[in-house]
C-alpha cells in the first residue's frame, strides 16, 4: 500500500507537464514601452480633425475592439538579440548600421488588449519582468496619468522599479533612438539616472511604484522630462504633475530648486557671478544638501520655513584671478553670495509653481498633514485654493569646504 502511494506520488510529477516552462530564447523581453495618444495631436490642432486617418498606411497596427475607440498607441521595444550580439562581438568592430531593436506599435483602446494583440504579430512570448522604462508622451500626461497607468500597475509581470519618463512630443521617437554606446535606448534611459550624483538637473527616484504612491495619496510630483534627436537622448528638467495630470514643464534650474527643497539633492553645481566684479564667475560643487521644512499657521494662512544646509567644494573660477585671494574673508563673502543665489532661484521657482501651475511639487501638503494635523483637517478640502496663498520663506546656509589645489 505504502509502495503504491509512493508510485502515485511519483506519477504526479509528469502530470504537471512542465507547467509554464518557456525556454529563455522563446520570450520577447520588452525593454521599453512608449505611450502616445492616437491620433497624434499636433500643437494647435483639434484631434477630431484627424479622426479619419488613412487606414491603409498602418493596417497591422490597428485592431478591432469590443468596445471603445482606439485612443492610444503603445510601442514596445523588443531586443533583436542575435543582431545586437553580432554587432558587438562581430567582425572588425561595430559600426554596423541599423537598429538592434524592434519597435512594435499597436493602436487600441485598452493596453491589455493591445498587449495581447501584439501576440498576433510576434512569434515570441511578451515578457515584461525586464521592462526598464515607460515613456509617456506629454499629450497623454496632460490628459491624466492615472487613466493610462492602471494596466502597468495591476499586471503581475510589471516591476515597481520601472523608470517613468515624460517625453516632449511623441514618445515613440525616444525608443527609436539608437544610442552610440548601448544597443537599446530603454537600457540607456534606465541607467541615465545613475548620473544624478553628478548633476542635479535630472529628476530621480521616479519609478512606477513611487509614482503610484504619489498619485494614490493625492500628492503632486515631478517626473523627468526626456527629449531626443536622431541618435541622442537627453533627460533634464521635469514635468510637474498635479492631481495626476501634467500641468507644465520645469526648467533645469527649477528642477534643481525643487530637488534642493525636497531633500532629493544628491550633488550638483552652482554658479554665481563673482561679488563685486564685472565678468568673473565662481562655481561651487555641492556635495551635501539637506533641507528641513517647518510649517506654522498665522491668521489661518500656512507659513513654511524652508532651511537648506549646503556644503560643497570650491570647484572653479572663471575670468577672475583669485590667486592668493582665497582667504577666510573672501570665502565668507562667497558663501554669502552662494546663499543668496540659492534663496533667489528657489523663491522664483516656488513662485512660478504657486502662481502659474498651482502644483504643490514640494509636497507641502504632506508636511502639513504630518506636522499640523488639526489645521489640515480644517483646510483639507480647500488646499488647492490655499496653496497659492501660502507664504514660504527660504533660508540657505552654505559652507565651502575644500578649495582645490589653486589658492
Amino acid at each position: 500500500m505504502k509502495r503504491l502511494l509512493l508510485v502515485l506520488v511519483i506519477l504526479i510529477i509528469p502530470l504537471a507537464g512542465c507547467w509554464d516552462r518557456v525556454d529563455i530564447d522563446m520570450r520577447g523581453y520588452v525593454l521599453g514601452i512608449a505611450l502616445d495618444a492616437y491620433p497624434p495631436n499636433p500643437i494647435g490642432q483639434n484631434s477630431s480633425e484627424f479622426e479619419a486617418s488613412p487606414e491603409e498606411e498602418e493596417p497591422l497596427e490597428r485592431m478591432e475592439t469590443h468596445a471603445g475607440k482606439p485612443k492610444y498607441a503603445m510601442t514596445v521595444q523588443l531586443p533583436m538579440v542575435k543582431r545586437a550580439q553580432n554587432a558587438s562581438s562581430g567582425q572588425m568592430g561595430g559600426g554596423s548600421e541599423g537598429s538592434s531593436t524592434w519597435e512594435i506599435t499597436q493602436i487600441g483602446s485598452s493596453f491589455m488588449c493591445m498587449n495581447r494583440e501584439m501576440a498576433t504579430r510576434t512569434n515570441l512570448l511578451m515578457y515584461y519582468e525586464h521592462l526598464q522604462v515607460i515613456i509617456i508622451s506629454d499629450e497623454i500626461a496632460k490628459q491624466g496619468l492615472e487613466k493610462v497607468m492602471d494596466f502597468f500597475v495591476r499586471d503581475p509581470e510589471m516591476r515597481r522599479r520601472v523608470k517613468i519618463y515624460i517625453s516632449k512630443g511623441e514618445a515613440k521617437r525616444i525608443l527609436d533612438v539608437i544610442p552610440r554606446i548601448e544597443d537599446y535606448a530603454s537600457m540607456y534611459l534606465s541607467l541615465l539616472p545613475l548620473n544624478a550624483k553628478k548633476t542635479s538637473r535630472m529628476a530621480t527616484d521616479t519609478d512606477l511604484g513611487e509614482m503610484i504612491i504619489n498619485i494614490h495619496s493625492g500628492l503632486d510630483f515631478v517626473l523627468p522630462k526626456v527629449e531626443a534627436i536622431k541618435d541622442e537622448i537627453k533627460s533634464s528638467g521635469g514635468a510637474a504633475i498635479k492631481n495626476g495630470k501634467m500641468v507644465g514643464w520645469l526648467t533645469e534650474i527649477e528642477l534643481e530648486a525643487v530637488k534642493l527643497m525636497r531633500n532629493l539633492y544628491r550633488g550638483g553645481v552652482l554658479t554665481i557671478k563673482t561679488p563685486g566684479e564685472e565678468e568673473g564667475l565662481n562655481v561651487l560643487e555641492i556635495t551635501k544638501a539637506k533641507s528641513t521644512i517647518k510649517p506654522s499657521v498665522k491668521n489661518n494662512v500656512p507659513h513654511f520655513d524652508i532651511r537648506i544646509k549646503v556644503e560643497g567644494n570650491y570647484a572653479e573660477d572663471v575670468n577672475i584671478h583669485t590667486h592668493g585671494q582665497l582667504d577666510m574673508e573672501y570665502i565668507k563673502k562667497l558663501e554669502k553670495a552662494f546663499k543668496k543665489e540659492i534663496e533667489t532661484f528657489c523663491a522664483q521657482t516656488i513662485k512660478r509653481m504657486q502662481e502659474e501651475y498651482g502644483a504643490d511639487v514640494l509636497q507641502l501638503k504632506k508636511v502639513l498633514q504630518t506636522k499640523t494635523p488639526a489645521y489640515w483637517k480644517k483646510i483639507a478640502d480647500h488646499w488647492d485654493e490655499i496653496y497659492p496663498e501660502a507664504s514660504i520663506s527660504i533660508t540657505a546656509d552654505v559652507t565651502v569646504r575644500l578649495l582645490g589645489l589653486e589658492t
Binding site: I13, W19, R21, V22, D23, I24, Y29, K82, H130
Partner: protein
C-alpha cells in the same frame, strides 16, 4: 522490486556452502608421510604450483617432506633454513637414542620466528593456502606449519584518489602486512589493537579490525565485530565490499563508511575514536562510522592556517551544492523565472541560445550524458591513448558542438563548472552520489521550476537526517547540533581549540590535549 531482489537472493542461499572446508577437521594426520602428502595434494587438487620436497633428515633414515605454494613463500628461507638445516645437521634433531624428535626440531633447529604444530587437515590446508610451509616427518602424527611467507606486490606508492599537497604521501598497498606496518609505525601505543578475522568461505581473507583501546567506545567495537562476524559469504576481495554487507541502509547512494587509502587518515580517525578495517589483498581501508561533515574534510585542511583551511572547506561545501544543483538552477531560472536574472545576463543567455534546436533540459541532459561518457571512458582508456579523451572531449564536444549550434556555449559553461565542482568534493563516493542526484534535480527543475528544486532539497535534507552510519546520525555535528564538535565541521577550528575528541563519537578518553595545548608565545 526490492522484495523481488531479496527473494532471488534467498533462493540461492544454500549453494554458498559448497565451498566449506570444515569437514576436513575430522581428518587427522597419520604417521606415514607418504599418505599425508598424497592426501594433502589430493585435497588441493594437485595444482602445479604446490611444491613437495621429500628428503632424509641428517644421516638418519627418517624421511621428511615440505609442502608449500611456491609463489607465496620465500624460497631462500625454505632452502637454507629448513631443507638445508634438516639435511645437513643431524646432531640437533636427534635425541639420545639417535631418533628424530619433532619437538627438538621445532625448538632448537628451525631458526624461524613463527612455527606451530598442526594435526588436522583443515588447519594444514589453510596454512598452506595462506603461504605457510608445512613440514611433516615420518613417524609423527603431527607436523609443523612454518611461516616463511613472502607475498609479492607493489611497493608503497602515492595516494591516487586522495592526493594532498602537503603531509604524508604514502598510500596503502595490496599487502596487509605492509599496511599494518604503515599504521603501527605512526602510533607507538600498546593500546593500538589489531583484531584478525577470517572472512569468506572460499577466500578466507584476513580482515583486520583496528582501534585504539581506551579511545574507541566499546559498544561501537562490539557492534562492528558482531556485524562483521555475521557475514556469511563465499568471497570478499575488498574492505569496501565487506562494509557494504555491514551498513544499515544498503540502498543509500551516500557513503555510510569512509573509504581511504591514506594510513595517516586511518591513524587520525582512530585517534578520534573511530574504528578502521583493512583486508588482505586490497589497498583500501574502511573507517567507521562516518558523517557528511567528516566526508567533506581533506587531509590538507590540517596543514594550513585554520582561517585558510576554513575558507577552503566552505568552498568545498559550496561546490557540493553546485555539483548537485547548478544545472537544475540554470534550467529553472532560464525557463521559469528569467525575471530573477539581471537584464543584460538574460539578453546574453538568450543570444547564446538562439538557434539551439533543443530545450534547455534536453541540452543539459545531453551534456550531462556526454560528461558521464567522458569520465567513464577516461577511467577505462589505456594511458597510452589517454590523451585522446582530452582532445575529443575538450575540442570536439566543447567547441565543435557549440559551433555546430547543437548546444549553447552557456550550457557548456554550466556543465563544466558542475563537473569541476564535483571533483572538488574530497570523497570519491560522495562525489559520485552528487553526480547521480543531479539528474532528479534537473527533472524536478524542469517540471516545477524553483519550487521543484526547493521540494527536492527538502527531501534531500530529510533523507540526510534519516541516514545513520552505525548508529551515528549522518549530519552530526550539525544536526543534532553539537556546538563543541562543530569546530571541525563547516569550518576547521584552530587545533588548540579542539582539545577534546569529538563528543559524538563517544570516545572513552575525551581529552585530546591539555586545555592550553599549545606552547606559550614568547614574551619579550
Amino acid at each position: 522490486m526490492l522484495s523481488l531482489l531479496k527473494k532471488l537472493a534467498s533462493s540461492k542461499k544454500d549453494r554458498i556452502y559448497e565451498g566449506r572446508t570444515e569437514h576436513l577437521k575430522q581428518f587427522r594426520l597419520s604417521a606415514n608421510i607418504g599418505d599425508n602428502t598424497t592426501r594433502l595434494l589430493d585435497i588441493m587438487n594437485n595444482s602445479f604450483d604446490i611444491k613437495t620436497r621429500t628428503f632424509k633428515i641428517g644421516r638418519t633414515n627418517t624421511r621428511a617432506a615440505v609442502i608449500y605454494i611456491s609463489e607465496l613463500v620465500n624460497d631462500f628461507i625454505i632452502n637454507n633454513n629448513i631443507i638445508k638445516s634438516l639435511i645437513l645437521e643431524s646432531t640437533f634433531v636427534t635425541d639420545k637414542n639417535g631418533k628424530v624428535d619433532l619437538d627438538l626440531i621445532k625448538d632448537s633447529m628451525l631458526s624461524l620466528a613463527e612455527v606451530k604444530e598442526a594435526e588436522t587437515f583443515d588447519e594444514i590446508v589453510l596454512g598452506i593456502m595462506s603461504g605457510d610451509t608445512f613440514l611433516c616427518i615420518q613417524g609423527f602424527a603431527k607436523g609443523l606449519l612454518i611461516s616463511a611467507r613472502q607475498y609479492k606486490g607493489r611497493t608503497v606508492g602515492q595516494p591516487n584518489l586522495e592526493p594532498s599537497v602537503k603531509g604524508p604521501q604514502e598510500a596503502f598497498v595490496e599487502m596487509l602486512s605492509v599496511n599494518l606496518g604503515l599504521i603501527r609505525r605512526r602510533i607507538r601505543d600498546p593500546n593500538l589493537t589489531f583484531e584478525i578475522h577470517k572472512l569468506g568461505r572460499r577466500t578466507k581473507a584476513d580482515v583486520v579490525l583496528m582501534y585504539i583501546k581506551g579511545i574507541a567506545h566499546k559498544d561501537l567495537i562490539d557492534k562492528i565485530r558482531e556485524k562483521l562476524l555475521a557475514i556469511d559469504i563465499d568471497r570478499v576481495t575488498t574492505a569496501v565490499e565487506v562494509s557494504k554487507l555491514m551498513i544499515d541502509k544498503p540502498n543509500s547512494i551516500f557513503p555510510l563508511v569512509q573509504v581511504t587509502e591514506r594510513p595517516d587518515r586511518v591513524v587520525a580517525a582512530m585517534n578520534e575514536g573511530r574504528v578502521a578495517m583493512i583486508i588482505e589483498g586490497a589497498p583500501d581501508g574502511i573507517i567507521i562510522p562516518v558523517t557528511l561533515p567528516i566526508l567533506m574534510q581533506s587531509p590538507d585542511d590540517y596543514f594550513e592556517s585554520w582561517l585558510a583551511a576554513s575558507v577552503i572547506r566552505i568552498t568545498r561545501y559550496v561546490c557540493f551544492f553546485i555539483s548537485i544543483l547548478f544545472p537544475a538552477i540554470y534550467i529553472s531560472t532560464t525557463s521559469f523565472h528569467p525575471g530573477m536574472l539581471p537584464t543584460r545576463l538574460v539578453l546574453s543567455i538568450t543570444a547564446s541560445r538562439t538557434g539551439v534546436p533543443f530545450p534547455a533540459v534536453l541540452e543539459a541532459l545531453l551534456m550531462e550524458f556526454t560528461l558521464e561518457i567522458l569520465q567513464e571512458a577516461g577511467i577505462r582508456l589505456p594511458r597510452v591513448v589517454g590523451q585522446t579523451v582530452s582532445i575529443v572531449g575538450g575540442l570536439v564536444i566543447g567547441q565543435a558542438a557549440v559551433q555546430a549550434g547543437v548546444v549553447s556555449p552557456i550550457m557548456v559553461i554550466v556543465i563544466s563548472i558542475t563537473a569541476l565542482s564535483s571533483f572538488a568534493i574530497p570523497d570519491y563516493s560522495l562525489s559520485m552520489a552528487s553526480r547521480i542526484i543531479r539528474i532528479p534535480f534537473i527533472l524536478l527543475a524542469v517540471t516545477f521550476g524553483s519550487f521543484g528544486i526547493a521540494m527536492g532539497l527538502l527531501f534531500l535534507l530529510a533523507y540526510f537526517s534519516s541516514l545513520k552510519s552505525f548508529g551515528l546520525s549522518y549530519l552530526t555535528p550539525v544536526a543534532p547540533f553539537r556546538p563543541r564538535d562543530s569546530r571541525d565541521a563547516l569550518i576547521r577550528g584552530p587545533l588548540w581549540s579542539m582539545h577534546r575528541r569529538p563528543e559524538f563519537l563517544r570516545p572513552e578518553d575525551t581529552q585530546r590535549q591539555a586545555p592550553t595545548g599549545r606552547s606559550k608565545p614568547n614574551e619579550s
